[in-house]
Symmetry: C2
Subunit: 392 residues, 2 copies
Amino acid sequence: MKKPDAWHLARRAEDIAPFHVMELLAKAKQLEAMGETIIHMEVGEPDFPTASPIIRAGQEALAQGYTGYSPALGLPALREAIAGHYRRRYEVDVDPSRIIVTCGASGALQLVLGVLVDIGDEVLMTDPGYPCNRHFVRLFEGHGRNVAVHRDTRYQLTAEILRAHWTRSTVAALVASPANPTGTIIDEEELEAMIEYARRQKGFLIVDEIYHGLVYGKQARTALAFSDEVFVINSFSKYFGMTGWRLGWIVAPPAYVRMLEKLQQNIFICAPTPAQHAALAAFTPEAEAIFEKRRETFGQRKDFLLPALRELGFDIPVTPEGAFYLYANCERLGIDSMELSRRLLKEAGVAITPGIDFGSFGASQHVRFAYTTSLEQLHEGVERIARFLGQD
Amino acid sequence: MKKPDAWHLARRAEDIAPFHVMELLAKAKQLEAMGETIIHMEVGEPDFPTASPIIRAGQEALAQGYTGYSPALGLPALREAIAGHYRRRYEVDVDPSRIIVTCGASGALQLVLGVLVDIGDEVLMTDPGYPCNRHFVRLFEGHGRNVAVHRDTRYQLTAEILRAHWTRSTVAALVASPANPTGTIIDEEELEAMIEYARRQKGFLIVDEIYHGLVYGKQARTALAFSDEVFVINSFSKYFGMTGWRLGWIVAPPAYVRMLEKLQQNIFICAPTPAQHAALAAFTPEAEAIFEKRRETFGQRKDFLLPALRELGFDIPVTPEGAFYLYANCERLGIDSMELSRRLLKEAGVAITPGIDFGSFGASQHVRFAYTTSLEQLHEGVERIARFLGQD
């Protein structure tokens, strides 16, 4: 089905939106090149380098020459270590045979949606939500069906919402807990009810748990505590601080492992091998102590930034429990969120992410603040915003 | 469009064939566990560890904390270094802005086919050929159209073949030079003619150059020498010996770079960052000296194995010029290729790949030998095959 234009371009490529924050970032770089200092509150990446035990393990793996392909499902030792993590942290038994090591959570989403989504199939997801989710579904000629979520459900889907939106074309619902951009966690009862509901529809709940571990004041339970018939996606990027290594994993229902393995063989071969060896050190007590300290640091930042933004007039009706984001309504400030993001950058030197990057529902009334920078920088950022708003 | 079975499974997942060699490998492992020694001539991976300058650069990158996300298009310094490689080795000017660093050639194929293939679109490819190619097209709901290629065109597509098979649904032809499993190189005139032909059809030639550099007795020219309107895919895996690092690249027509960037942002974020830093060392004189020495070693193995197999009765009518494979017709031995592969493993302890892993045309008459093991092992393998054939 060729298109009439001079050069061929797949329709999916046209449907993929850029991240608007990238424009802002390019602008921020220009400003920085001109000598201005920018406070970065837009970055979805921990500001800590990978923890030293992992660095050392990575260096040692290279010294040992562990640079060849790994099995498609991942290094057996790493799959065992991940299973051990579920046992120790969640008291949940996960058979290592159900764990597939992937090229980041991105690779995990590709594999899971690749084995679930046929042409025209729908996957329910939250609006606001992680912007790439709908593009993964689009990649496979399915439809990411955005469902507007409100403060009353803590910006999360619920079993009731699934019931209201699930159609004959729906094959899965994709949720994240803690979520990006809102930082909220799904209630345990709702998580279990959603898994059950999707199963009864012969579909699946896919649970993105990449911000697990980065939870403040409570302990989140994994969806795997409730059922084996759920796809859980996780990553070494956020809590484990290994963004650039591109390493994540899937825990799949047993019947799907072989399909995921074949797809991985064909479209990825395997996840990066040196990274897999390095990640073995992520489950040592030494590394876990570092992660916990960093988690505390993130918690302290949240404890400063959340009340400070509220005081400035941002409405944050749902107190987030995890991740490193605050999703703030800027309506009371009388300025559209895109305009606010642009002007805060230009006039105050503060970079934040406009709501439009996370969907369309309430997008022009919301912005996302990331606390992936030091308390000092956050203080400076808040002061700058206060000045911009004439509140200094 | 839900299917009637109890659990949902996308049709594409059912369409993806496993590699038959994997079964053989599992069997080989069993035999090895029982104390038998197996000669491995099935492995599509260099038997050398990553070269020491790259290892050191990788260790240094980790020490420096280069563990965060890179720009979606790749590290600017690496894109410059790749452009320099084209200048030095091929005397071809490639603007670094056209180079996209990817998660292996696998990631490159996903991106390129993702921006070219709509539902029902066709991509022409050789049979025999790299088995994953048609699955990449299937991933995006297109059809990989296998075209049987014979010894008379050195198992390659030609402009004449393109003309005979190109339809209104064809958007691209995917060729490899040197090719897997045949090791042959596309004639320069044909390469240029195919690029031209595809352009006149408003489609593209996609040229897989991942075995470039591993060429014996002649120097292959890159498709980029002939046109900017071609997609070239390359990899750090084979010549550069970095399989497990998962790093490759695309050189794209200028108009497609932005689309590829958006797709990469969304479905991969970026290629592994430590690997990108390490790969900078692949273009140093020290590393290049190591690669050239290894290339000579591969050449010596080919010079032994090719006549030895011919002497055993395998028909290898086209002398391969590159990669590390020999594609051999076993018809004269009076045994089907799948059967031969199974029996050679079981009765002689030699692992090879049956033709069926590369397509269906002549599959039961062909096997692939990889010379990714030492001359000593190859000698032993040949002796074992001779004994198996009663020729000792």
